[in-house]
Subunit: 480 residues, 3 copies
Amino acid sequence: MTTPDSARPAGAWRLHPDRALPAEPGTREIARVIYGATRDLPVVSMHGHVDAAVLAADEPFPDPAQLFVVPDHYLVRMLVSQGVPHRDLGVGRDGAAVEADPRAIWRTFCAHWHLFRGTPTRYWTEHVLVEELGVSAPPSAQTADLLFDEISERLATPEFRPLALVERFRLEILATTDPATATLADHTALAGRGWGGRIIPTFRPDALLHLHRPGWADDVGLLAERADVATDSYDGYLEALRSRRRAFVAAGARASDHGHLRADTTPLDDTDARRIYDDARRGATSPAAADAFSAHMLFEMARMSTEDGLTLQLHPGVLRDHSARAAARTGHDIGYDIPVATEFTRALRPVLEAFGDHPGFRLVVFTVDETAYSRELAPLAGVYPALRLGAPWWFLDSPDGMRRFREAVTETAGFFNTSGFVDDTRGFFSIPARHDLARRVDAGFLARLVAEHRLELDEALTTAVDLAYELPKAAYPPVR
Amino acid sequence: MTTPDSARPAGAWRLHPDRALPAEPGTREIARVIYGATRDLPVVSMHGHVDAAVLAADEPFPDPAQLFVVPDHYLVRMLVSQGVPHRDLGVGRDGAAVEADPRAIWRTFCAHWHLFRGTPTRYWTEHVLVEELGVSAPPSAQTADLLFDEISERLATPEFRPLALVERFRLEILATTDPATATLADHTALAGRGWGGRIIPTFRPDALLHLHRPGWADDVGLLAERADVATDSYDGYLEALRSRRRAFVAAGARASDHGHLRADTTPLDDTDARRIYDDARRGATSPAAADAFSAHMLFEMARMSTEDGLTLQLHPGVLRDHSARAAARTGHDIGYDIPVATEFTRALRPVLEAFGDHPGFRLVVFTVDETAYSRELAPLAGVYPALRLGAPWWFLDSPDGMRRFREAVTETAGFFNTSGFVDDTRGFFSIPARHDLARRVDAGFLARLVAEHRLELDEALTTAVDLAYELPKAAYPPVR
Amino acid sequence: MTTPDSARPAGAWRLHPDRALPAEPGTREIARVIYGATRDLPVVSMHGHVDAAVLAADEPFPDPAQLFVVPDHYLVRMLVSQGVPHRDLGVGRDGAAVEADPRAIWRTFCAHWHLFRGTPTRYWTEHVLVEELGVSAPPSAQTADLLFDEISERLATPEFRPLALVERFRLEILATTDPATATLADHTALAGRGWGGRIIPTFRPDALLHLHRPGWADDVGLLAERADVATDSYDGYLEALRSRRRAFVAAGARASDHGHLRADTTPLDDTDARRIYDDARRGATSPAAADAFSAHMLFEMARMSTEDGLTLQLHPGVLRDHSARAAARTGHDIGYDIPVATEFTRALRPVLEAFGDHPGFRLVVFTVDETAYSRELAPLAGVYPALRLGAPWWFLDSPDGMRRFREAVTETAGFFNTSGFVDDTRGFFSIPARHDLARRVDAGFLARLVAEHRLELDEALTTAVDLAYELPKAAYPPVR
């Protein structure tokens, strides 16, 4: 959505008001009307990765490079793919010799701006630079210093502090993602200052559910400490997880969040689960047993969801650290996580058979494997009440990616078995850009249905509001 | 296709004549011309699921709910996915306590009409309600009773009896689907009344080919009885199948119809086939052996097709009864059949190597896995004379689904290696709607080729007639 | 691209100048401008299959049938799929009784021209017939003889000799594909006549890397002879390959070319590689060992690329000789090579982890499995500097195929991680047609981005030139 003109910083660069709407004039005219119904709606951001500590501290953001370049894996991976070394972007393990001058990093980014042609990164960045920051010109080697200064100046003002931005961006809800072992102290502090229910945590237990992860034993130890429940047995481990979920619910959490390599939800019987857990405690787990345990725990998380109401968010199918060499050199989550083909029909069967029509269960599934849209996900969501299809995720959170999602799933699952737009944003500043783009793309899709006389305009208007605002709220439990 | 105005019941609600044609004005103008060449052609319905008994009895259809809601798995699954219990839709195993008042069921459906936005069910239903039944207004909670009364009134008139509709819908051929053990008495009766060759049976032996199906032994017993050939040996079983195929051919059948989980056609050698069959008779088949036998029998069905000329229709890749709990509660075929990834290149190799250029063999393959279109199915159909690609099937029998099919297969397989439009309709009333929609979508696809100067208009016109009428006839053997 | 009017032979048949550009008038207008920036650029043809001997001999091409029909597997497979026997097309193993009269073959092709509606073969052939040969009318039973005579007349003139066509087609570079055991005598001869660096060989070692191929032992013997290095040991075999690569580099080669069933690049340790090699020499290889060796050798080829700079071109995922019966009757490469699902994320991991950021390594990957575009290939190319995505290949080298490629990969990989247009042409005459079509389709894609305000026109213009000309050059090492 677009910041109202009066609030927009003054820069000479302007974006076209019809960007990302369909080119055909008749359809565009309809799309404009539909987009007009959603552009100014509040933002419901139920699945983000903004650090709660940043919000609680509410200090000015650092320089443009540390804010926009270094932590953005979309940006970093594209520059690296064209031969820019990680170190030139300030990316490296602690203690590595990397570029420390933010202005130098920013210049490198700006000089490679052409690489982002045709990508959503280009779209989001333009939106941030023009609509949020009001800079004077597109990035380039020539404009890099000017932009650096302009952005730095804005960031130093009170209006651009984190909590001011929550207002400015009209974020009705902002969910963070927090390890199951988080103290939630930042959320407690925010609640104490009146932000409870608006800035909320999300329960992410991945580190505890994947037995083969380095550090698992330590994390399970920390879990015991946080929950004040001994985790030296499988039953204690389950109870500790249950206890932490309760603590998250008490802190306002509405969902849990799960990254798994596969979508498998096959439960183990208790004896097997206990044995594998005990083996893992002794450091003696096979990869196959670890995988089986991860699947089993997904089933257990679903069972706990039926008890405490947290929506289960699942995004499977990504092979992490494709280059172990790069991970060793530069750390995780910097662009080497690559999708793999992902099966859902058989994988989700256990959980859907058991809880797919449970009135208290909500499962939102994301994918980066488009082949499952029409073949598996839409048919499943089109029959099981508990299942909602998450917005196109990650690499598919893009104009053509979102269009293909709607084209592939709507005819089988309709609109109301999707979650509406749920962003997955690491960059705080790009939250409005992403929601704005999704509203434009959905407006374009709905406009085509209207132009092809497959839908009436009044239906399209209410559906657009549903996709942008009502469905993302409905996919999560009501505030208690 | 559209019922001529003079024959159309008078209702206030009208559909746009350009619905489902492309939005771009130049392309739409071309599409209108192309659609004009096919809209009034007769319907060739070679793959339907209308009950022959309904046709033979030729009694008035029951109320709107029993006609349109209860038996339509598209409708039922969508309502269920949004929390409507099966019982409220009158769906349940024999003896279950389900809603018995058709008007109450109809009201539930109408009140949820918004769920079908963007789906082909919406499109088909609108066509049926307006073009065939001439009701006054779209379904809604407010109009439910009015529509129920209007439809009930039409259904009570002689023009809406089943055989009158065969004329009214201009069905040149209407194929039913019949178990291999069917007596075909209804078809005999219909033939005696002059409907032979127009209403024809289709040979469906699934229950006999999948050894692990509950009731297989009983079905094989019934097969023996119907064929008057002992089935206590594998050779007798084959001979009994052959005999039943002859009986179907004599009754006018033009095709066999096969639903398999996988497309595998690997033959067994006779010794293995006999051994597995004998084991199955003793109730001692492993799942792997049953799968191998299913694949083997698909090969044998192809071999028999080369002898008796029945076109082999294969639609693999659907996992039936995804929720065993739901199936136990409500029966089969009510929405819990979910697609899985399906391999064709290796799976069809045995049958295509053996019979792919046999002059008497026709194989029509359907899929609900779009990923095989450009990768496997179009390349295979583009070289083997026996193979024709079936119209997009089931979840893909939709405006965007059909468009994607043409876009993905035409460049490799051309138009003439497809079967043209072959519906797979359970709802008798929706047969015209489905053919009409296919004709519109194909017109739109051809119009784009013309608008992009990739095809001449005169070629597009004859191709449209081929897709709508000539190819579906050519994919099946001529009447003998 | 289009031959300038002055140079075009005079025929009455004309193609529309806007063919294959988008239909929507506003977008078409932009596309025309973009296409105008690339239509007259030279052609860089880095991946073709024109026979070097044909170029070196520089004799007139034979008749239309032997030039355009018999060797074109696209043409042959389509005619066969509609029941035309191979023999009627002059296709058969040496000594088979096949149609010998070129005019009869040509008539068969022309009479079936309608089969190619909607296919790229239609598009390419029209371009060749009109733009290159200036014939009077589209092919049909009626025009077959006229066209045969017109084409024969042109082919007899000096302007249509092979080397004259290299000029006429503005081929800046024309790469052939040559077995690793080729003498390269034709290239030496061409270089002696001033064509060095313009007509260049490509190193194709497939026959030597797949141990289970019939004739492998003989080929390895020939390798020893050509390289003058004994190949009775694995180390000698590696050294001989290295030596041949050097010879190819000396003859101007810029790339190696690899067809594998799978994309697997898992290396073996030396002991295993030696053992499998020694077993193969004794004719005692298992299929699994042969597959493992193929994968290992792909890794070794990548390692050698880092030493000698040849770009590694990989096109996996095709099952050759799907019908062994047809291959036995008619030979290889006549239409029975069918794609299979192909995994890249795990398969390419070894080579990308090892060499993905090596400054001297370039890997261009092609696929006929579209499902990998957005899921695996774009994410991989969007982070590893060495990887470039090859133009849509084979069945996907088509208007809609190329459009889907750009739509699926650009948002993740951008434009600059693709190779630009790299043809894979067996038909010399169709090289300009294919590049012209790619330039039109890319212009249409870029025009849509401009029309949707996702890209500026000046950016689209330079990007179009990059895709048509600069990127194909940049994907291969500079001339040494």
